[in-house]
Amino acid sequence: MTTAEVGVVPDAATIEQIARDVLAEHPPASTPITHLMGAWYDAGLTWVYFPRGFGGLDAPRSLQPLANRLMREAGGPEPRTVNTIGYGIVAGTIRRYATPELASRLLRPLATGEEKWCQLFSEPGAGSDLAGLTTRAVRDGDGWRITGQKVWNSLAHQSRWAILLARTDPDVPKHKGLTYFILDMQTPGVTVRPLRQLTGRAQFNEVFLDEVYLPDTQRFGDVGAGWIVANSTLGDERTSLGDRVSARGSGAIGDALALWAEKPENHSPILREQLTRLWIRAEAHRLTSDRARVAATMGVQGPESAITKLVGSELTQQIYEYCIELLGPEGTLIDTYSPEAPDDESGPTAIQRKYLRSRATTIEGGTSEILRNVIGERVLKLPQELRADKGIPWRDVPR
């Protein structure tokens, strides 16, 4: 089996050779996924830019898409699907903030999907204003006692681990009193309740934390530095999106085009024009995402990447709004609202289901309103608006 020489930065050819070896030895079609991903991890292909022994090869980050592509081409999974939050958000933070011992304990089962991860950040009273969160962490010997309520926690019911933001100091301004922890979801005092959405499904959860104990070794970063750690986490989430360019006519606009082709009896000049306008916007968005991707590979973080989520989410909504109108009376039907039904968007009323689900895209992961603020203030450098909570101890902020 090929290995990368220690001390030499692996190049594309090396990565490719290692990957082909792993895939040959563990044919994706016949290998259990945890074995496959374990071998992949052990070979350093999960995150080629991570250190050796931690799922990486100290290779340039730009070679990761190559590894992912080889896995896909061999019929293996898109790595993110194995452990969405683990790959998308947590792994980078573990690398940066965990001790080597803890990192080696956590990363392999994260990579194989054996230990899934969830995120305990948002709260009922802290949505857009995440830094205003109320969940308290109080010192208790060598550890902490956590009490509070979290919400919008996808996969919490399936997860072994969570990343958690809690308030350790209410007497300083809100951003400064937060600390970042990881939480074993099997700890006593953790209660997970499914949260039913307008789709009828319960894709998310509420998580109640009642005097939950965790050791101080599960703290990431300094006490009071939680906001900084969380932002590095969220930064990973954003940059991890840009690996692939979608093809013309794929994604939501592909659904609309397919529906248009399926329903010639519903065609009208107005609907044809609307579809064309959506197609134009989808193309402009696709090209802008591609431009952001190229800029990122050249080391330039342009404004393009900051607007991708905003534009994409609003466009997706509008495309499914269009699809519903194109469906006509058929759009008034749904197969079921049962919470027990599979949480996907397939079935005879898949379009209606996607339409309903799309309402969340402009809320989750930062509302469109917040994103426009971010673009205005961080990209365009416009002056900040007045804030009632600026510089005030969290304790004194109206809530």
Partner: protein, 380 residues
């Protein structure tokens, strides 16, 4: 009679009365329970609306159990039922059947069916061949056969509003000499009704298959097309009023939410992004209200072409209600996306309404034909 947009004190009292009745007997919890039942509505409550409150016959002549006040009054009732998402045959009975029967030429037929519908004791629906909200005899899917004495209907009807619970089905069918309107008892042999699972659980539909179902002729071929065209225009205007009601409720709920939801140390309604969207919601609602009530007044008093007024109302009210209910979800944030939140109920209603009796795009196309293609500059 009142001049257009002259909302009298008595109209305001009517609105208040219906609203309070809904708040008491059809609050959100009741709606949620009712919409999960097999029938999808509470027949006893429906009858109380008709008999106790007495608001189903405001546009029906007094001698037929109504109040003879005109379509604007009726629209106010439908608007408030829409605002509260009252489960029941609003579309089938109030928007379609009562206007259709009121338009029938024969007094005896009117007298036979209307009092029961007005009192809420019976419910009905009307199946009109239509495409894009327009009467379309080419889309007729039911045939009437006569043995010289009695008629029998056969065919299939899709997306029939309130079709699985209506007592009487008024069905347009093809006869050897044209299109005529028939009454069919929904319980009779040869009538097979299948409840559909609807996106909006508060507004039901059914597929109805007729196989030699006994039918009674209630409107002859000579008059039926006019009756159906008129019924569609009236139902479209009334549905627009219902959309106005839903939009207002979501606007109110959103204002209440953003005034109390605190983030960044202040109520989020203080932020311009939220405030301006709320202003735009109000504007959308006001445009819809004007268009919907213009249609009601125009049909009532004959002051505008009914088809133009109805299409205008539906085009504007559909877009407004959809946009307002989508905005309500957005401005409620995560909570707006939950099953427990009220906005989802209205989004689903707005979606279903927008696809019923012609979409906004379809009515826009229709207006393009009647208002743009045929527009003649006035000689000033």
């Amino acid at each position: 009679m009142t001049q257009e947009f002259e909302f009298t004190e008595e109209m305001k009292e009517l609105r208040e009365m219906v609203r309070e009745f809904c708040a008491e007997f059809s609050d959100e919890q009741t709606v949620r329970q009712t919409m999960e039942t097999e029938a999808g509505y509470d027949a006893a409550l429906w009858q109380r609306f008709g008999s106790e409150l007495g608001v189903f016959g405001l546009a029906v002549a007094e001698e037929l159990g109504g109040a003879g006040l005109g379509l604007v009054h009726h629209a106010i009732v439908v608007e408030e039922l829409g605002a509260a998402l009252v489960c029941g045959p609003v579309l089938g009975t109030l928007c379609l059947a009562i206007p259709a029967l009121s338009a029938l030429p024969e007094e005896t037929i009117r007298a036979e069916y209307l009092p029961g519908l007005v009192s809420g004791e019976t419910t009905a629906t009307v199946a009109i061949p239509q495409r894009a909200g327009e009467y379309s005899p080419d889309d007729l899917s039911v045939d009437a056969v006569s043995d010289g004495e009695a008629f029998a209907l056969s065919g299939r009807l899709d997306y029939v509003a309130d079709g699985s619970t209506a007592d009487v089905l008024f069905i347009a069918a093809r006869t050897p000499t044209g299109v005529a309107l028939f009454a069919v008892d929904s319980e009779s042999t040869g009538v097979e009704r299948t409840r559909l699972f609807t996106l909006d659980q508060t507004r039901r539909q059914a597929t109805i298959v007729l196989q030699n179902a006994a039918a009674r002729l209630i409107c002859a071929e000579t008059e039926t097309p006019d009756v159906l065209v008129q019924t569609l225009a009236t139902a479209t205007a009334l549905l627009a009023a219902s959309q106005v009601g839903g939009g207002q409720r979501m606007l109110d709920a959103t204002i209440a939410h953003v005034s109390s939801r605190i983030q960044f140390g202040q109520a989020i309604g203080a932020f311009q992004a939220i405030k301006h969207r709320c202003a735009n919601m109000l504007i959308a609602e006001e445009q819809a209200r004007s268009a919907a009530y213009h249609a009601a007044w125009a049909i009532q008093d004959g002051t505008d072409e009914p088809l133009i007024a109805a299409s205008l109302a539906k085009a504007v009210a559909s877009e407004s209600f959809l946009w307002i209910s989508r905005s309500a979800i957005q401005l409620h944030g995560g909570m707006g996306f939950t099953w427990e939140g009220a906005p989802q109920l209205y989004l689903k209603r707005a979606t279903a309404d927008s696809l019923t009796l012609g979409t906004a795009a379809e009515h826009t196309e229709r207006l393009a034909r009647v208002a743009i293609d045929e527009w003649e500059p006035a000689l000033v």
